[in-house]
């Protein structure tokens, strides 16, 4: 009954062929489950329904967008202002999908014709859209009214985002065809209206007086939610830190 010392674990080479096969099969199942598990881990960042990134013009609803995007980056390649970036592993199943960080570099429709949509081979950026006015990426919102310079009756002099800001923008009055660094374009404004001034969509934002008093210099940007496409140009150009106006990606145009 007492012979524990004699019962040594057999070394691998003593395993019978059948035992070896079973071990291989078991290891394969573990490895296969492991690979599948790592794959499924990509679900965590997208588990919450809804969008976490500002997507390029024409992007389908987030779920359909993630299903259809083939992650090739052709949209990234054609963007003249390099607004489109490809998501990394922290985006889970969104890995390799395009997004825009508007504060760093917004889409300003410098391409004139939604080039990213034309480049998309899968229609994840919907081919139904032909004009920039039809785009719906989100809606601009005055997210921080208290910091807005216009609402304080303040003007703006100098570089909108400082001299080190790498962002570019097409100023039609400077160069019709090529975007230039925002850091090369100083402003001198009596009342700050940068968000309205640089908005690429006609009538999407306007400056309204804050009171009936004609001597009150204060103005407030008002977003026309029937027109705004959510490109984020206002968010990029806003000189306050953080930006007083931002894109709400969950909101979509009412008229659509």
């Amino acid at each position: 009954m007492t012979e524990p010392k004699a019962k040594k674990k057999p070394a691998n080479k003593h395993l019978s062929r059948q035992q070896k096969q079973r071990r291989t099969l078991l290891l394969s199942m573990v490895a296969g489950a492991g690979v599948t598990g790592v794959g499924l881990a990509g679900y965590v960042p997208v588990a919450k329904n809804g969008q976490t990134r500002l997507r390029p013009p024409g992007a389908l609803d987030e779920r359909l967008f993630l299903a259809s995007c083939i992650k090739c980056g052709q949209c990234e390649q054609v963007c003249p202002v390099n607004a489109i970036k490809l998501a990394d592993i922290m985006d889970g199943f969104g890995l390799g999908t395009p997004y825009i960080d508007a504060r760093t570099q917004a889409c300003d429709f410098s391409c004139d014709a939604t080039q990213c949509i034309l480049a998309c081979p899968t229609g994840s950026l919907s081919h139904k859209i032909n004009k920039k006015e039809e785009v719906q990426m989100g809606l601009a919102r005055l997210s921080s009214p208290t910091t807005c310079l216009a609402r304080q009756g303040l003007g703006f002099v100098g570089l909108a985002r400082g001299e080190d800001f790498p962002g570019i923008h097409r100023y039609v009055e400077v160069d019709r065809w090529n975007p230039i660094p925002i850091a090369d374009h100083p402003y001198d404004l009596e009342i700050c209206d940068l968000c309205v001034r640089e908005c690429p969509i006609k009538n999407a934002i306007s400056m309204q007086p804050l009171s009936d008093d004609p001597n009150d210099k204060r103005r407030t940007p008002v977003v026309n939610t029937d027109v705004c496409v959510g490109c984020g140009m206002c968010e990029m150009i806003c000189p306050t830190e953080p930006s007083s106006i931002t894109i709400d990606i969950a909101a979509k145009r009412e008229s659509a």
Partner: protein, 329 residues
């Protein structure tokens, strides 16, 4: 059932994970049977063994195909990068999908994944997939792996290191069951369909690498690094052999490709040099003595047409062949 059809189905079965096994007695052709019997005679056996000894004594490594293959992988991937960096619009995109001088190209597996995930058939994607399928069908299906895939090249380099480490006892090659790849193929296809997410693309090192070359470094490369570490220390060619569904997809294309590696039983001395270097040695099962059912055979579906067996073969029993071109090559 004809011998050719039987061999074809067998090659598919082996590709999906079945052990090649000994063929049935009835599977052998007359000539093959006679040749095997002849090779078994004691005199011929001695001559063969002497020849092998001689051959292996002054064996010189050959890289006849490898240099072209490596150049091909580097060139194909470089074309993507150059197109982007210098805006020459040669191949825009990544290996998952691209435009080749304006024509749509879509990787077969990525195309299948997004089609399953969104349950819609897209004309552009179908056009891209058909183009890619025809191109790789011409040159041998899984030739994609060894002549275009950047992960394959990285993995090949790691494999060279792995073999050195194994020699020193610092690493080992734990064998897995090849059926795992087939199971994972079904799992990832089902996951794409059920979850509507392209789950596989999240761990696809080919996409991750291809995008990193063009669009810059990503954290996702850490996953590719982890895979390579597993291959370096524990499981030789883990991803390509046991996981990658892209390999299966291109195998299916390759199974009916006119470009094949051809085996000639007459020339073969059964040294086994070819199987030692092969990524998918199960396709070379007929080179084991007594296994070839015919004197002239084509290597099966899973073959990546890498040419390493050609380089390793001391007698020239293995060669590239383009069916239908006959004497032209």
């Amino acid at each position: 059932m004809g011998r050719a059809l039987k061999a074809y189905l067998h090659s598919l079965k082996v590709m999906l994970g079945a052990a090649p096994g000994k063929p049935d007695k009835s599977d052998y052709s007359e000539e093959a049977r006679a040749l095997h019997a002849y090779k078994k005679t004691p005199e011929v056996r001695l001559v063969r063994l002497a020849k092998i000894r001689e051959e292996l004594a002054d064996k010189k490594p050959s890289y006849k195909w490898r240099k072209w293959r490596w150049a091909s992988i580097i060139l194909i991937n470089l074309m993507f990068v150059v197109s982007y960096k210098f805006d020459v619009q040669l191949v825009e995109g990544a290996l998952t999908a691209s435009r080749f001088v304006g024509f749509h190209m879509a990787d077969l597996n990525s195309g299948i994944q997004i089609t399953l995930a969104q349950k819609t058939i897209l004309t552009n994607v179908v056009i891209g997939m058909v183009t890619v399928a025809v191109l790789w069908w011409l040159v041998g299906g899984r030739a994609f792996c060894s002549w275009a895939c950047p992960y394959h090249l990285a993995s090949e380099w790691v494999e060279m290191l792995h073999l050195k480490l194994v020699e020193k006892g610092w690493a080992k090659d734990i064998p897995l069951h090849r059926g795992m790849r087939t199971v994972l193929y079904v799992v990832f296809a089902a996951l794409a369909f059920i979850t509507s997410f392209t789950v596989f693309e999240f761990i696809n090192p080919v996409g991750i690498l291809s995008r990193a070359f063009t669009y810059g470094l990503t954290l996702a490369l850490a996953w590719v690094g982890l895979l390579l570490l597993i291959e370096l220390f524990f499981i030789r060619r883990f991803w390509c052999r046991y996981v990658c569904p892209i390999g299966i997809t291109y195998s299916l294309v390759g199974s009916v490709s006119p470009t094949v590696v051809h085996y000639d039983l007459n020339e073969c001395l059964h040294e086994g040099e070819c199987r030692a270097v092969c990524l998918v040695p199960h396709v070379l099962d007929m080179t084991i003595k007594g296994r070839a059912t015919d004197v002239n055979m084509d290597i099966g579906a899973d073959c990546t047409r890498c040419g390493m067996c050609l380089e390793a073969c001391p007698t020239g029993a293995l060669s590239f062949k383009v069916k239908g071109l006959g004497g032209l090559l």
